[in-house]
Symmetry: C2
Subunit: 371 residues, 2 copies
């Protein structure tokens, strides 16, 4: 990925701030493909990021032989945890009885300051519950959010969308915080110095949509300057992959439906294209000749390459990988965790939230005095 | 499109019911591409549907020469209307001052019983407002909905989704009516005798999601039998193009975001594919050889081929074509109007709404007596 001058500047500033090499805490047990896929992902990520270290949490009987074969030496460390959170476990159950699980152990290493970020392929609901319990919300954040990367026409190749499923509700204040957190993510994860933020709606006219969206439109307009983003107003579903915007803000219900609709559409088209290219001799031959281009395209829109929903609004970075992720997908999630750790994302985000909250309270004081 | 045995039966039953040849009332002025595209669309639709007739509403100075050239003879009739609804006109303004417009005239012909369905490329909000005012809601329907067709893996090649933008709100009773209306549309428009209906949510577990969705889950389960559909429960965004379901029910906010996200994703992939195939000599050659297959695929996922959102819940069928539709898109919308007219869709839908409402009132009576 090419990097803009601003991006280089931002990254230089960040690395001086964060002198320690990143340590990523990895829940090795939660995924559908088991610990072997996780260890294979760690091997790839370790190759890409020479300075990073990894803590792997899980059953030593399964992990120890995998790690021995991987030959990562001192760059990977086994942390014993016998319990495993399954996809069917209720979040409330894991919160009460999950202390011995690999997921709990992975998050706790971030809490203890031993790791700069955690990565898990486990159950989203349980991971959010354990993360909230162990890391707590950043002061001033009401609802944490999950942010995803979306292949786009923009210069970085990706847009950020949030919330994609942490919470089904969001009022105007939550939406402002999502804007702030999404902008911080775009700045530190995609090196976009002044991200453009849009609010997802069913039309771009200011009078349209739900009441909380009109209120959020006002709030975002007023606070964009201090929060360090440009507010482009309402955007529609068709704008999510566009280069009109870098960050798309919405509630977790709408965001989750949009994300899964986009993934479903991409998968349908990929399958139809494959079928079409297997019909007839000319098509088959054409497909063989154009194979290189197809592969490049597939990489560009492959959900595995953009694997990793980031939990925003907690005192610690947590990356949720797809449950079905393979080594490629897990490596992408780990890389994202390394990039965010290196940029000092967590500290910058908390500072930005504190500043905007302080300013909003100042702005409200005269009104309150007058009433 | 192949037709199932049930489909043939349903269509045979319908054609005996509706002996009159379909007459489609066409707003010739509202689209971005002007009346020439509309007349070209009518010419194509007339060729496909030998028995159909068309009433074209608009300015005679522009329409008369176009119709004269088209050579449709008695199969097309000009209805003079000097006013035009623009994309910027507010619905409320059109309701008060729009009596001279081609849109108003097109809807009024359905109200007067001269046409069996209306088609317009105009402003969605204004078209819904004029349709509500002139045709009125079917008794027992609280909110009308807009249904769209979505390319799918199902046998008919399409799934129905509603509401995609008539109203941003929907409570559980509205969602039941959407299910009923969407099932009637799938039965008469896609020849699926017993459609499978799913309720769009962020997870498939019954305890998940917003309160109105849990209530709607209960309502749909109870009423599916009488309403003539199978209820498959909650579905997610990724299921919209699947063959698990024929009809996807959601509120107009979520549906509109999903529709535009799907269209945006399809367009992004098409553009990336085109770029990929223009890079390098082998790819270019491959693309030429596979051209036939690409064209077939493009037709399959071309939004123009599934052009036409149908307004459901009014006393008359109204098809909203994309504002930017060209002759191909307009012909698709007209074909849909012809198919629905021939199937006796409008009468069957009203009868189904009446039956389910009567049964729900019966079911509620004992409770009311007891309270």
């Amino acid at each position: 990925m090419g990097m803009s001058p601003q991006g280089r500047q931002a990254q230089a500033a960040a690395s001086s701030e964060d002198a320690d090499p990143p340590v990523i805490s990895v829940d090795a047990m939660g995924g559908d493909q088991g610990p072997a896929a996780v260890v294979a992902g760690v091997v790839r990520a370790a190759r890409q990021h020479g300075e990073a270290r990894f803590l792997l949490h899980g059953r030593s009987a399964e992990l120890a032989p995998l790690l021995a074969k991987a030959g990562l030496g001192a760059r990977a460390e086994l942390r014993k945890a016998d319990g495993v959170v399954t996809m069917d476990d209720k979040p409330s159950h894991v919160m009460r009885h999950g202390k011995d699980t690999s997921m709990w152990s992975a998050i706790s290493a971030v809490r203890a300051g031993e790791a700069s970020a955690a990565v898990s392929c486990g159950n989203t609901g349980a991971l959010m519950a354990v993360s909230m319990l162990r890391l707590r919300k950043i002061e001033g954040v009401n609802r944490p959010a999950i942010a995803c990367l979306w292949p786009s026409r923009g210069a970085s190749g990706f847009n950020v969308m949030l919330d994609v499923g942490a919470d089904i509700r969001a009022d105007q204040t939550d939406l402002l915080q999502y804007a702030l957190m999404g902008a911080a993510y775009a700045r530190n994860g995609l090196q976009i110095e002044q991200p453009r933020v849009g609010l997802l709606n069913v039309g771009t006219e200011e009078h349209k949509g739900r009441a909380e969206l009109k209120a959020a439109h006002e709030l975002l307009s007023v606070n964009a300057g201090e929060a360090g983003f440009d507010f482009v107003g309402f955007v529609e579903g068709g704008d999510i992959p566009s280069d009109r915007v870098d960050v798309i803000v919405t509630d977790g219900f709408t965001g989750n439906v949009a994300l899964k609709t986009g993934e479903g559409t991409a998968t349908l088209i990929r399958d139809l294209l494959r079928d079409a290219l297997q019909t007839g001799l000319l098509s088959k031959l054409g497909a063989v000749l154009a194979m290189g281009s197809f592969k490049k395209l597939q990489t560009r829109i492959d959900p595995r390459q953009v694997n990793g929903g980031v939990f925003l609004g907690l005192n610690g970075t947590v990356v949720k990988s797809h449950g079905s992720a393979d080594a490629t997908g897990i490596a992408a999630a780990l890389s994202l965790a390394v990039t965010l750790s290196r940029s000092g994302f967590q500290r910058r985000l908390a500072a930005r939230v504190a500043t905007v909250n302080a300013l909003r309270q100042d702005a409200h004081s005269p009104e309150q005095d007058g009433s």
